[in-house]
Amino acid sequence: MLSGWTVILVSFAYLGILFAIAWWADRRADQHRSLIDNSTIYALSLAVYCTTWTFYGSVGRAAATGIGFLPIYLGPTLMMALGWFIIAKIIRVAKANRITSIADFVASRYGKSHLLGGLVTVIAVVGVIPYIALQLKAVSNSFTILAAAPEIVMPVHVGAVPLLHDSALYVAMIMAAFTILFGTRHLDATERHEGMVAAIAFESVVKLLSFVAVGLFVAYGLFDGIGDIFAKAAEVPQLDRLMTSRDTAAGYGSWAALTFLSMLSVLLLPRQFQIAVVENVNVAHLKRAAWLFPLYLFCINLFVLPIALGGLLYFGPNSGVDADTFVLTLPMAHHNNALALLAYIGGLSAATGMVIVETIALSTMICNDLIMPLLLRRGWFGLHERSDLSGLLLEIRRWAIVVILMLGYAYFRLAGEAYALVSIGLISFAAVAQFAPVLIGGLYWKGATRSGALAGLMAGFSVWLYTLLLPSFAKSGWLPADFMSAGLFGIELLRPQQLFGLTGLDEISHCLLWSLLANCGAFGFFSLLRAPDAREVRQASLFVDVSGWEQAGPLPGRLMTSGGTTLQVTELLAVTGRFLGQAKAQEAFERYARSRGLPLEQLTADADTVNFVERELAGAIGSASARVMVASVVDEEPLGLDEVMNILDEASQVRAYSRELEQKSQELTRATAELREANAQLRELDRLKDDFISTVTHELRTPLTSIRAFSEMLQDDPRMDLADRTRFLSIIVSETERLTRLINQILDLAKLESGRADWTTVEVDLGQVIHEACESLSQLYKEKGVALTLEMAEPLPQVMADRDRLMQVMINLLSNAVKFVPQTVGQVKVGAGATASDVRVAVVDNGPGIRTEDRETIFEKFRQGGDVLTDKPQGTGLGLPISRQIIEYFGGRLWLEAPVAGGGAHFVFTLPLPTSDNAIKRKAGGAHDKENTDRGR
């Protein structure tokens, strides 16, 4: 009744319906009334996860291991809970960077690396091919079985069928044709396929309905409900064991490993990435998918064990009917052809859905990340050819689809028979799990580098090849069997599925352990070998800094300020046009120009424009190729220091920030210390000034006291006798003189100290000054009977100084001396001589001398040598400080020599010779300026 032709006809009719749905959805998309902009459709399209593996294979797995089929669906449930952290972030990153595939994602993340994109593509293709083979096997088997109805005949071993009689080959070819029709009709810059997604969502509904229908039929048609199946199965010892899990560490270990593996796969399988990320219309759709997709998985698994047990009960444990076919054979056995056909259609849905999305995803990767970079490198597209290349891109993809399906068929012929459906699928799961470290790591770890990603992927992929793929060939007899039992080169430790002697794990857990260990290890090790370069840092911050939760803000574009030209824009437009088609490119450029508020003619190829073109092109040819194309036009300079500074990764920003904080706090501490010190100095200065003023007032008040007292006495007593009157008046006069002298000297000192003194710096004959000073004091010396002797090595050289000031110093020293020497026997000697660099003048007396400890204090203000004397010395206590100021102004020194036994005071000063010291001239010049400004006031 169900002839082969009926089945074929129904199959094509079903495919026709799919195509109609796709066409309708595409048209709606063109009208901007997207059908798939809907969270339920998104969730349903995610159910492309459920393939023939689920539809047929789960039952087979359940018949063999009981609940062992479940981890594959629990993992995705957990991932969807976690997906809010990971999937949402991936979607935002992908949208912002026009990511077209998982290979593009990884390549883009690590500095738009061709090599990495190519490697991911190779791994994905090689890894997924067994999975595609699984679909071919399932569809061809189900067709063969159904076509043989009402007999239930298991398909013969595939190797026994001649190639041209193998239905799987035709299935592969038809699927290739169908996929080409579906996915490569036109080229879209965003690489989105609305029609395909709509069809996939429809297929998800079909496969769920047909599976549940079969489940209900088995439970309530063949048996009296689910309880009846379980009750009957419990009576059969062989089936009773399926009710519980293997209660061993390895059993739970492999359970956990499969859960983990499926968690990764639901995101990393190329078709899952395509549907969940690339085809996603709105991140918000993830919200419903987070529970609806798991609910779908829940529903489609509800009847798996009942069908498996029902089949085993119905056919008997050793009937030879493959449990993988129960979904089809149970209705057939009960001659329910309509249900059998529905089941077949469900299986076909599962297979076509998977194959379409998977091959489209893979063909995009092959085209964008494998073929295009090679062509670009060979320079096959000369920039000045103006031909439209979008046709070539589509051609490449179409051939890629054919090649992928043929490879799938080849794997099916080579190795497909050795495994049940589920086991084949798990090989692919383990392969794509290798993307996890570089993808998820790259999403959160900015330190991850291209070399780390390359090393990690290669290490993990190699281990996968060795421990899982090669054994699948060996088990099918295509490799020598002793490869498995004795290991490579006969080395026991290298046995592929007991690597390094690790036993007790199932082959999937074993592969997963070693491959991810090698993968993560190499990824981490090589990433940490060197710091990311500028391009990697830039890409890392684009990927890592996108928050999965916040709306993506403006992209942190490159802050390249250099202009670029409008001519370059024309070229960029031409290049883009060659990949997207002229009309589309023109439209995109105009839209972009509008968004920047510029007419297209005025647009220059600045950083923003370059980014825009790269994103547009990335949709068509992948980010890495897009970068090369754009660079060939704008000759983008390598990232300059400025740019690098601008795209500092978060870590270094934080580092810099904390360093800044630390620096600031150090500066603050330092400033505080300086302030405190300055404050202390100020307070000390204040105290000194206070003391000075206090001392000055004291010195001023003392003569005032005498003057007032005597004046009042003279005033009060007009009849005072003349002698007293004269004596008092002369005291008043001398005290007044003293007061005047004091005030003059204080003012003088204030001027000197503030640098506002008037200096007249000229060449001065020091010998003459000394002579004149002695001359002017000779009267005083004579009066006191003090001998003044002069010992000069004449002629003394000229010095640069102020003549009057030098005179002041000499008179101060000589009058000090005469004040302290004893009368009549007093002697004062003046000596002068020149050395090569300076002139030296000494004034020596035979007075009481000055105590060693006072040698410096006498140069302080108001510190007279008088403290040692009983008699109050005359003078103000300012002479020596003023003299020292004067001498030091001209670059010389004034000091008191150490006293010799019985000797008096011995003052010395030096003045530098002008020829040897430019400083004097400078000082002299400065003084002149000062003078001028003073005069100007």
Binding site: L74, T77, F85, F230, T244, D247, A249, K287, W291, F298
Partner: protein, 66 residues
């Protein structure tokens, strides 16, 4: 709604609870040859726990926030 970081934490918690429920040793507690309403205990446990997790996720993401 998905700016709500509280929801993120709730979902992370659900993930952890799920990891716990679907693994040894909790799984071993129910790994017994008995049945509930005719359904094997382990089978019933996993499906109920699974539904619970799905329900929790739905509750968290679909609940209207004021």
């Amino acid at each position: 709604m998905y700016r709500n970081r509280l929801n993120a934490q709730r979902l992370a918690a659900v993930f952890l609870v799920g990891c716990l429920l679907f693994n040894y040793p909790l799984l071993a507690l129910f790994n017994k040859a008995t049945s509930v309403l005719g359904v094997p205990l382990l089978y019933a446990y996993i499906f109920i726990a699974w539904l619970g997790i799905i329900g929790l996720i739905a509750l968290i993401v679909e609940r209207r926030l004021d």
